[in-house]
């Protein structure tokens, strides 16, 4: 049965700061569906992504998030990940001294340990094969496996590395936060094709983007607009085209009153 991510009336702010950022978000994403999330800068898209993943910077003050049978908000970030949620970060951090390969192997082994506490982890040759296969899929040079995670990666390389992680971990629901920004035209196509291969009945996605060009490759089933911490409009792919043409002014006009 398809897993559902249900976000109900979600409110959140930055820990130690009263100012609300998310002000009642409602959204349901099913495995196999692609949702695009658009909205002006600062409207709360990345905050939503981080709150879903369990970033301790943010505090949830109201609402509920269900992920299959799990109460997501009760879980630590690592548990959410192992349950099948993934976030491709808008700004991935670099981790000095930890190689991409070593890191991904730990991530896979943590999953195997969940299934079998006595698991010794994936044998290294098998892991190497898996990683190479995914690197080929995304046009990533094999030498990246031995590089420190994101350290000195270009903007586009970081984004590819995020998608590589997604491809390796095979989540049920993935949130891609502006994975298209910083990619050159060829990279955008490669990454988008990579994402397309992963979506399908087994993966649902929330694709956060500012640009229609990403949606030319990854065809969304639904498009949502976030404004001032709420999802104010939802529609089909035509909504994205409409935004591309008209910008957000009409959204501001329509919802600014409600906001104040």
């Amino acid at each position: 049965m398809a897993v559902e991510l249900q976000i109900r009336n979600l409110h959140a702010h930055v820990e130690g700061d009263e100012q609300p950022i998310l002000r009642g978000v409602n959204l349901t994403i099913r495995q196999g569906e692609i949702h695009a999330l658009m909205g002006p800068n600062g409207s709360g898209k990345s905050t939503l992504a981080n709150v879903l993943m369990g970033n301790p910077t943010y505090e949830v003050t109201e609402g509920q998030v269900l992920f299959g049978e799990h109460d997501l908000l009760e879980m630590e970030a690592d548990e959410r990940s192992r349950a099948g949620l993934f976030l491709a970060f808008q700004y991935p951090v670099s981790i000095p001294g930890v190689t991409l390969a070593n890191f991904l192997r730990h991530a896979i082994n943590a999953r195997l340990k969940d299934e079998d506490p006595d698991s010794k982890g994936m044998p290294i040759p098998q892991f190497t094969r898996l990683l190479r296969e995914k690197m080929n899929l995304l046009g990533i040079d094999h030498s990246f496996a031995g590089r420190y995670l994101n350290e000195g990666f270009s903007g586009g390389e970081k984004k590819r590395a995020e998608v590589l992680q997604m491809a390796t971990l095979e989540p049920k629901i993935a949130v891609l936060d502006e994975t298209d920004s910083g990619l050159d035209i060829d990279a955008l196509r490669i990454v988008a094709e990579g994402v397309n291969k992963l979506t399908g009945p087994d993966m649902g996605a929330l694709v956060i983007t500012h640009y229609q060009r990403m949606l030319n490759y990854i065809k969304p089933d639904y498009v949502h607009v976030m404004f001032a911490g709420q999802i104010v409009e939802s529609g089909g792919p035509e909504l994205a085209l409409q935004l591309e043409e008209n910008g957000y002014d009409w959204i501001r006009e329509k919802y600014a009153v409600a906001q104040s």
Binding site: D78, R82, I95, V98
Partner: protein
Amino acid sequence: MVVQRRSQVDNIPAYSRSDVENLIASNNEPTWLKDRRLAAWDLYENTPMPRLEEEWRRTDYSHIHWTDASTVVTPNGAVVADVPQKNLEPLIGDRQGGLLVFVDGKLVHNEVADELTSQGIIFKDLRAAVKENEDIVKQYLMTQAVKPEDGKFASLNAALWDHGILIYFPKGVVAELPIHAVMYNKQSGGHLAHVLVVVEENAQATVQVDYASAEGPTHSSYVGATELIVGDAANLRYVALQEWNRETYEFSHQRALVGASANLDWVIGNMGTRLTKAFIEVDIVGTGANARVSGFFFADKNQFFDLDTQQNHNAPLTTSDLLFKGAAKDQARTLWQGMIKSLPKMQKIDGYQVCRNLVLSRDARMDSIPGLEIEADDVACSHAATFGTLEEELIFYLMARGIPRPQAQLMVIDGFFDELLQRIPFERVRQRLQAEIEAKILG
């Protein structure tokens, strides 16, 4: 006048001139060594215990119980089986050029590959070398690198060292295999060791020395000296890893001399002791010489580490690159004081010095004091100290991929040290240290 409290006056090492005389007699040492020991003893006696000098004033070692820590240690049924296996493992594969193991100052294992001996390489107990290689020892022992007048504890070592190692590589000799020595102590008390490494012109050597001790009931002291003499165009890779027990107070002088066009690659690890006061110095004496000094330290509980480093550029066209990385946990304290110096009119000097600190608890304290005293003008010298904590943002990133928090923390800390551990040329030793770092993180 400074009025000293009685306890401070009394709390000094309990050695006496007769300890020096007994040592000379029992080893039946030659006159030159006897004279040097007695002169060093006089110097020692005439030097006050360091306390308020600039390089000592932040280091309070007054809590040491010298009555225990300066008990003369007599090896007592010591055998190599006393030493943990991890210290005895070959450095690479199943071969090493040689392994010397000391327990409580007694040589309990003496293995030197024939191919080394046939090349004229000397690797032996320093006491034996005094007799068998007298000229070499006489020429180099505390005459060029560490000298008795370097400080109270340098003169104490000069007077009373009772075991040690001579490593000597003749001109042009290149050893493929690394040399490994282990100084292990089973008994508490006063330990005074001396390591003398001489790599002559064009020779190439790789050496590792491990220091470790069994948990002791009472305080111990390690008053040590390490001298690394790297001849012209010679190459020395030297790794020293210290894991004394937590009742040990270390006072050590370590100094390298690097000749023209020579290369020194020195890695120093500090994990053990209750308190460490180490002077780590490189004298770059020949044109075109390069020295790289890498240090790592990890202090926890009540440990106090004070590492004093100095890079002396006494010749033109020389480089030195010093990187120290350390972490402190619980109530531990660490201090690094660095200095780059040059003689006047030395051109084309490139000196680099950095200490990176990872503060792992609120109660831990880490200080770093970099310094430059450069009297040349065509120089590129830089120094820096950085301080960081375990960043929640990094932990979150790893957790967001399914890695549980404790493991994510380990990975970030391991990552912090990785750059340094990569400078150790032995995979097995890197793994051993990683395990020890992890034990400290989790402990």
